[in-house]
């Protein structure tokens, strides 16, 4: 995968204080000692210093994203490199630290887009979209607890190609939707492998089905953690009728719907 041109002129940001952060900020975090993105994308609703207090990250283990998108443990000593800067957001640098972080090459949590001096072209945008999508797809390979992760990656790349064949100037798969899909699997590693397709506007649509006319389908929307879902299941009291249940949720509450609908056993491995 080639480095997108829009990221040519990035620089490593220094450190800033926590002030100004808002709930739901999105960060990309990784360890430059490995080329494999081992943490991935997470939304941050709260930041704890390991003792439960909110605010500035300190040395030691940092817990990120204990809010709506679950918990991701991040060790200190990270350096963010270009390969992790895949956010499609305004150019913002946002790092936090304490004295322990305040050294060159020490841990940063960064959300940013790079500086750029030459004109931005549509081709650049496509490069970035391509890059973001492919990066996110490959992140499924970093979830070894999902036994079928290779199959997922293959399927997603197939869909990416299908969508691009249909609309050559589209991103292939909507990045926000794919990110939500990835985050959902990061939170739920014991799911059976779903069938996956794209909606007409290239969002991810995952379905779990059984031969008993049980259906659980999820439309992963573009925005932070949002999903729509539908559950169809037989009506045990009326064999010719179905029970239908649909609504909206977020990826961290979706399994609550599964639990309340008693469909857990055929969704989970």
């Amino acid at each position: 995968m080639s480095k997108p041109s829009a990221y040519k002129t990035h620089k490593r940001f220094g450190v800033e204080q926590e002030a100004g952060r808002t709930s739901g900020d999105r960060y990309f975090i990784d360890d430059s000692s490995s080329r494999e993105p081992d943490i991935g994308v997470c939304d941050i609703d709260t930041v704890a210093d390991g003792t439960g207090s909110l605010g500035t990250i300190t040395a030691g283990t940092v817990v990120v994203g204990t809010g709506s998108l679950g918990t991701v443990a991040v060790d200190t000593g990270f350096v963010c490199t270009w390969s992790h800067f895949i956010e499609q957001a305004p150019i913002v640098a946002d790092s936090r630290n304490t004295a322990a972080f305040n050294q060159e090459g020490q841990g940063n949590l960064i959300r940013y887009l790079p500086e750029r001096e030459d004109p931005f072209t549509q081709a650049d945008l496509l490069d970035i979209d391509d890059y973001q999508v492919q990066e996110l797809i490959l992140r499924f390979n970093t979830l070894p607890s999902i036994t079928y992760h290779e199959r997922l990656v293959d399927r997603l790349f197939t869909l990416f190609g299908d969508a691009r064949e249909e609309e050559p100037f589209s991103p292939g798969i909507a990045v926000g939707s794919l990110r939500n899909f990835y985050n959902f699997f990061q939170l739920n590693t014991n799911l059976k492998c779903p069938s996956i397709s794209l909606t007409p506007d290239d969002n991810i649509y995952a379905s779990w089905r059984s031969e008993q006319n049980l259906v659980f389908s999820v439309h992963f929307l573009l925005t932070n953690g949002d999903v729509r879902f539908v559950i169809l299941k037989p009506n045990d009291m009326h064999s010719k009728k179905q029970i239908r249940h649909s609504g909206t949720a977020t990826i961290d509450t979706l399994m609550d719907e599964v639990e309340s609908s008693n469909i857990r056993d055929w969704i989970l491995e």
Binding site: R155, L159, D162, A163, E165, E166, S195, I196, S197, L198, T199, P200, D201, D202, Y205, S207, V215, S217, H219, R228, F229, V230, L232, K241, Q242, R244, S246
Partner: protein, 140 residues
Amino acid sequence: MKNDKITGNNHVARLCHNKHVEDEQILPTAFHLNLRTGENGLSVNWLESLACSNRDSEINVIREIYTKTFNTVGTRAKIAILNASKVYERVLSGGRHLEILHDPLVDDQSHSQMYYLKEDYMEIGELIFQTVQETYPART
């Protein structure tokens, strides 16, 4: 004639692009509207309006229409055949609304549309998907 309601034992065909097909199987997103482009109705073709003598002939005509209409018809794309009465029965039984109306175009006289899918697009898409009667490759 435009806006004739397609009912009873009439059939419609829907093109299911590659991205709506997995392992040769059509998936429910084939019956979703494109919300990004503000699509109002789901395009289908009314098979009986083609006045062919059998299904194979109808499918061949539909393939020709797709070739003229779409820039790309993928190698794994499918044609889904739906029976109008089955679609109405399945969708309307849950209190949903749906209409299949003839909407002929200059170069596609069999063109028709399914309306009222937008509100509950997921549920209705799943229900229509459950009524798929036959499938055929969209390309020979």
